[in-house]
Amino acid sequence: MEPLTGMGVLALMGAAATIAGASEDLESDVGSQSNPNSQVQLAPQMMYPHRIHSKAVSGEPPSNALMCAIGGTTASVLITTGASAALALAIGAIVAAAIHGTYSATAYMGRSASQKRFKQPVYLDVMRSHIPVIMGYAFITTFCILVVSYLMATVLAHPFPLPLLAFIWGITVGAIGSSTGDVHYGAERQFQNVEYGSGLNAANSGNIVRKAESGLRNGIDNSWFCAKFGGPVTGLAFGMTVFLSGWITTVFDATKGDAIGWVSVIAGIIIVLILILWNRNMEVAARAAYGTYKEDEAEAEVAA
């Protein structure tokens, strides 16, 4: 393949992956999936019943792997029967989003029903308003992941079939969404009522913010908040993962010889080293600028 074509395809994959990452994180925030879910689950037990959707499908990697594998399978079947790729990918994503909707519904109803002794009601309007939003985001995520997988399988001639590639990218986008985006929702949004940077005191466990700017807070309010930073940053992280991991083998094409193959490995190591140093410097700069949590210092003085 022409290097220029390869770079073009890679750019398209990176763009699709960026959108997939952002929508994946926002989808998990609407339903409070993954790490922040533990506090949503805990809240009624600490006498804080709420109107926040609890989408305890599983961790984000398996649930996204399910969506993407179902989408990839349906698309692959349709392509085998002669359907156009664009149509097949879209229908695959619709099937995946619908199934994800059923998983979201059973998770919310089940978790709430299992909190009977803590008097957590099942609000049907929470389901009616949240699940279409979750399905919408799930469609975008699945479609973009299928675009990435389809381009890899056909244009870049990856040896893996479409359903398997979609499955693997589904796990990856879930893992990155879980590790990158959740921090913004869990630590910052759920505990806006404690001072920024104070960490989560055990006494505050379950005491999540339940009242919104107007009315009672729900998952859609949370996605509005997370769309400002958590979602986009997850998109960038996933887009960079897809782009950079493809870039090294597109520029230094291992099929042209072992020597070039090794150069691509070295290029990968250099990228990882640069990212480690960059992250370290960012952390040091942030600590220097904002320092330790102030109340700790005050407490230390009192103790002394």
């Binding site: 533990s38 689950q41 037990q45 006498m47 019943p49 709420h50 109107r51 305890a56 499908v57 599983s58 961790g59 398996p62 649930s63 792997a65 399910l66 594998a69 179902i70 990839g72 399978t73 349906t74 692959s76 079947v77 085998t80 029967t81 099937v95 199934i99 059923t102 998983y103 059973t106 998770a107 109803m109 089940g110 978790r111 709430s112 029903a113 299992s114 909190q115 009977k116 002794r117 803590f118 008097k119 957590q120 009601p121 099942v122 609000y123 049907l124 309007d125 893996f160 079939p161 479409l162 359903p163 398997l164 590639l165 979609a166 499955f167 339940r210 009672l216």
Partner: protein, 269 residues
Amino acid sequence: MSAGGSGAAAEAIPQNNIIAFGVAGGLIGIYAAYFLVDMVGQYMSFIGALGAICGMIWGAAAVRRVASYGLGTGVPSIGMLALGMGVLAATFGLAVGGVAGPVIALITAAIIGLMVGVLANKVLKMGIPIMEVSMTEIATAGTITIIGLAISMTGTFDFPVILSQVITTGYIAVIFIAGGLAILHPFNANLGPDEAQDRTLICGLEKGAIAMIIAGIVATVNEGASGALTILIGLALWYIGFSGYYDRVKRDAYAVVGSGLLPSKEELE
């Protein structure tokens, strides 16, 4: 105290009955599909998925039992482990066994599961009393799920056909994850102190039906199997599962309300 705490889960249906249901239902489904596809016609391939659903319900029951010992975030991991052991055992059993393949796969799975359970308790010292038994159950249930869904996709469990139509085409990925979620999701979705066994298990039926529908979609492009009946029966089972689940949620929940404010302080006391 039932699920979600740290003790044995309350059981209305004894686990031994569910084991019998899973093993017998699974094997009958797999072999009935295998022979009836040859004798009656390819549209009988849907029976394989029914066998897989027996396996998934059993798997969900086993996850529920072992995860009741305080495995909160470990629930998804255990479901993935089930299918991981299952893939290994299923491919080995079908590759060496011929017609006896599924039985050999089940025995292999039981051995792998027992080994993992012993490792978890003796080496990792997890100290869960039913770990060995549960791991054996989970691995075997995962194997039934994989073989059952594979046969409903292809109409046979002959290894060369499974290899070319399920593994090489990548559809094994969807079997793995849809089967795995059907085993892990029911308990994960119902986790909490007021979890009930029948509600969890009917959720397993509903998720198993989804895996059946997907298997039916794949079967439409394979010559040996027929997808239409599999998809239709899957949809019917999904409806039965979902409405049954919703009925049990209405029965078990503190309140199911169309809308409303949070419970008042007086109500909470």
